[in-house]
Amino acid sequence: MTESSRPPGSSRREFLRLAAVAGLAGALTPPAAFAQAATPAPRPTPLPATIPPAPPAAAEGPSEAARALTAILQQRLGKDRLNEEQWEAVAKDFDYDLASAKRMAAVKLVNADEPDYSFFASPAPPAPSGARAKGD
């Protein structure tokens, strides 16, 4: 979890629900499932004027794009991996991801803007000093 505008468990699903209610006009910062690592519940982020609208289907259910992505996952993992309700939750997560990607893409970067990490061609550091023995 991150910010505190929303209750701490705010998941992508919750983000989408709020996005639908607020039309993404308010302060919504979605911690992705993984992003909640820590403490769920991000505070709201002011949205740039260029922010695209929320996925149209967010209010009623997952968008077509989210359902398509869910289908890819079902093909990859097997549809029987989860029940219908769980797949629906996954589809809503995809809608969060799509909205999140649009928000990031709305920030203009130039061609030369590099990712904020560096690769070094220097010798690698020593490997961890021991192997993990997974139980059972």
Partner: protein, 468 residues
Amino acid sequence: MTDADLMFLPLRALGAKLRAREVTSVALTEASLKRLETLGPKYNAVVTLMKDSALAEAKQADAELRAGKPRGPLHGIPYGVKDLLATKGVPTTWGAEPYRNQVFDYDATVVTKLRDAGAVLVAKLAMVELAGGMGYNHADASFTGPGLTPWNTAFWSGGSSSGPGAAVAAGLVPYAIGSETSGSILTPASFCGVTGFRPTYGLVSRHGAMALCWTLDKLGPMARGADDAALVLAAMSGPDPLDDSCTGKSFAWGGPAKHARKWRVAVPKGCTEKVQPAVRENFEAALAKMADRLVVTRDVEWPDLPWGPAVGTIVAAEGAAAFRELLESGEVAKLRCPADRTGGYSALLTPAVDYLQAMRLRRPMRAAMTKLFASYDVVATPGRATVSYPADRKFEEVYPGISGGPPVIPAGNLTGLPALVMPDGFGENGLPTSIAFMGPAFSERQLAEIGTLYQQRSDWHLKRPAGV
């Protein structure tokens, strides 16, 4: 002095007693172990007691202290670690059923550094499963059960460092080590009324720590007061050839410098308007306590960047990579919280371009924070917008309409900045509230000085929950 009184003493006072032989490390360790064993279950705070190794370390500490060979301020003092730090030969569960029997054959660098400082590791402490990486939405998200705050056990101790928060608050250990990807030290410290110190990314080695997100994960102390936390951070920090992210910088702390400088404080616009009333009142009272040493600027505009989506995308992509086997095998279904059983799946399809876009955004984000800190020494906000959440309800069901304003926690984590959170009073249901300060990279000394100043003028960090 009772065992409880000892456990609530500041580290410098405990160290003085040890060096004066008013108490032994073995006695302190036994007291801590007993409290962990008897009180720990009340808060679901403990995973594994390290009884044998702890007593051996304590005996060694006593022998060294008797021989006049003190190792430093932590020598002989017991502590606990969040159960995501590897400890040789002892289970390291990551709070998750699928890893319940996982054993490493090496110690995390932080554990080694603290052992070298003479500290005595007494327990592996509870945590939200996989540090919350799968999207939990309920306190009951660990195989050890929901972490409960000692101030009111109907409420959550916060996550994901839930055990360290509760164990320090209840005086089960004098201090503990937590971890933060985006809020996991600051939130449990807030909800448990203890002091949490998130270091600059790269100041503390993560070697041997569970990886959730390589470019965001950090380890830091949770303690009674800022001086205690700074002493522990000093012992944890420094170079480590086993962690590429380590900058080689160290943090030294002997105590606050004797000067009377004033700090320039930015209070972001919107950070108090929609918080709970007690949170706002306590925050203002805390600033007022230090009014003669602060130059406070209100309504500072927060950089308008997609902090939340960026942190979400980065943790999704890196977390899915770190736990790809767990997700693809279906073992994720064994997690405790239902939301955790599905929350990671969509991250498996995070487009590389989205992850890279988020990583590219971190440069303008760092530039924005650098610009902010050119005008201010620190940012001050309430630690959390609310007191803790009921342990038996989904997070999204409580505290409607409450907002903490701008995304300071994601911003601080995305840009790797240090933050200190301290208790500043109490709110609803007798639960603690907090104030947080965030500074530029490697400004830990400044944060520790502000923290010690505040705690010299207040006593919230000395309060004890009932029944401990």
